[in-house]
């Protein structure tokens, strides 16, 4: 092997390593969903102050939840499958936290991205599937449809309509800390991790 080829091979290896390191967040994230999760873990994300209304027609802003740890997911009420799984997962997390006496410290939130169909009434029925406690569990919709893009990009969520009239979207449980910053994103199956992070956030002191 000649000197020039040695140099070029070394260069190729260095550049490739850099591309892969950068492109996989240090060999940790091979999908953009995983990248999103690692990113918020390392850099808690501030969210825009958008205006919502909930299932009981109250005006809601994320700042209303200040002091509580928020569990949040994105849904549409006619979702046939994944949103159910998310819902039941919330229910079971809620039960576990209630057993530990922590129900005062948390807020559960479903945000719809289907603004055309999901009225507060439908959101109310949706929440009713899992609980009758409409204070602790909110179904939210944006008041201004023009802000949807902002909302989704804040969270890094992508929604694409599918051929059955529904949507494909990131199925994950998001955790906001007591300051309203996005600090965690988890698979809905990993209840242990979720509960662990919630406990950690509850015990964290607010600066």
């Amino acid at each position: 092997m000649n000197r020039y080829s040695l140099i070029s091979t070394t260069l190729v290896l260095i550049i490739s390593a850099a591309v892969w390191w950068q492109g996989t967040s240090g060999f940790k994230a091979f999908t953009s969903e995983a990248a999103r999760r690692i990113d918020v873990l390392e850099y808690p994300r501030k969210l825009s102050g958008l205006d919502f209304e909930n299932q009981t027609f109250e005006n809601i802003n994320f700042s209303d939840y200040k002091g509580k740890v928020v569990l949040l997911d994105f849904i549409y009420t006619s979702c046939p499958d994944i949103c159910y799984a998310l819902g039941f997962s919330f229910k079971s997390i809620k039960a576990e936290l209630e057993e530990a006496g922590l129900q005062e410290q948390i807020q559960i939130v479903n945000i719809t991205f289907n603004l055309e169909q999901d009225t507060p009434e439908r959101l109310s029925a949706y929440v009713q599937r899992y609980t009758s406690d409409h204070d602790m569990w909110h179904g939210l919709r944006l008041k201004d449809p023009g802000q949807l893009k902002q909302l989704l990009s804040d969270f890094g969520v992508v929604v694409i309509p599918n051929e059955h009239g529904g949507f494909d979207h990131n199925a994950a449980i998001h955790i906001l800390d007591k300051e309203g910053r996005l600090v965690g994103i988890h698979d809905y199956q990993s209840q242990q991790q979720i509960v662990a992070q919630i406990r950690e956030q509850i015990s964290a002191t607010v600066l």
Binding site: M1, S16, W20, T31, A34, V158, N170
Partner: protein, 199 residues
């Protein structure tokens, strides 16, 4: 002759790039199985036509090592679901895709493939096949969408396509091992570069 190949290359490149680029990218299958291969093929044909005897490239690409590594690593990067998403999310990465696939995958492949050791060539072929099988299988069993911009059912179709392509390709290569006569090929290629490498 040479002009028609260059036109074909340009055609492939424009096919992938222009307005129809959008049409490829809305479908995961078309994106992965048509657009990306087209971009690589454009680079490959251009490289075979115009760069294979380039003195400088031969000098810095002894035994095809640098080129084949670049082709593997950069090509491998574009197999990541995350890279596909990135290409769709912002225009910067889209541009990177249009440049890197022909120039950093197709061309290196063209100028290196005949220069690398025949055993390395066979290993790469087999690794490529098993990678297709693995990816196909993973896409079929993954409970989650791997790309945020594509639906789960498209991912499953792509997984099946991978398995079909891998199966057909292995059958084709196996048949080749029984049908062709490699003695004649060896003598024909006597003055080719890679023969020295195998001794």
């Amino acid at each position: 002759m040479s002009r028609s190949i260059l036109f074909f290359v340009l055609f492939l490149y424009l096919l992938s790039y222009s307005i129809i680029g959008q049409w490829f990218e809305v479908s995961m299958v078309r994106h992965v199985l048509i657009q990306i291969p087209c971009l690589v093929l454009a680079g490959y044909l251009f490289g075979r036509k115009s760069l294979i005897n380039n003195r400088f490239l031969i000098l810095i690409n002894d035994k095809g090592l640098a080129g084949i590594l670049m082709c593997i690593f950069i090509g491998g990067y574009w197999m990541l679901p995350r890279a596909l998403d990135a290409a769709l999310a912002g225009s910067n990465m889209a541009l990177v895709k249009y440049i890197s696939l022909p120039f950093f995958v197709g061309i290196p492949l063209a100028i290196s493939w005949q220069r690398i050791h025949p055993i390395a060539r066979a290993v790469i072929k087999i690794e490529f096949l098993t990678m297709l099988f693995r990816l196909g299988w993973l896409y079929l069993v993954s409970p989650n969408r791997l790309c945020n911009f594509y639906q789960l059912n498209e991912q499953i179709i792509l997984g099946k396509c991978f398995l079909i392509i891998a199966t057909s390709l292995s059958l084709y290569w196996i048949l080749q091992l029984f049908a062709e006569d490699y003695r004649e090929q060896e003598t024909l290629k006597k003055n080719n570069l890679y023969d020295q490498a195998s001794s």
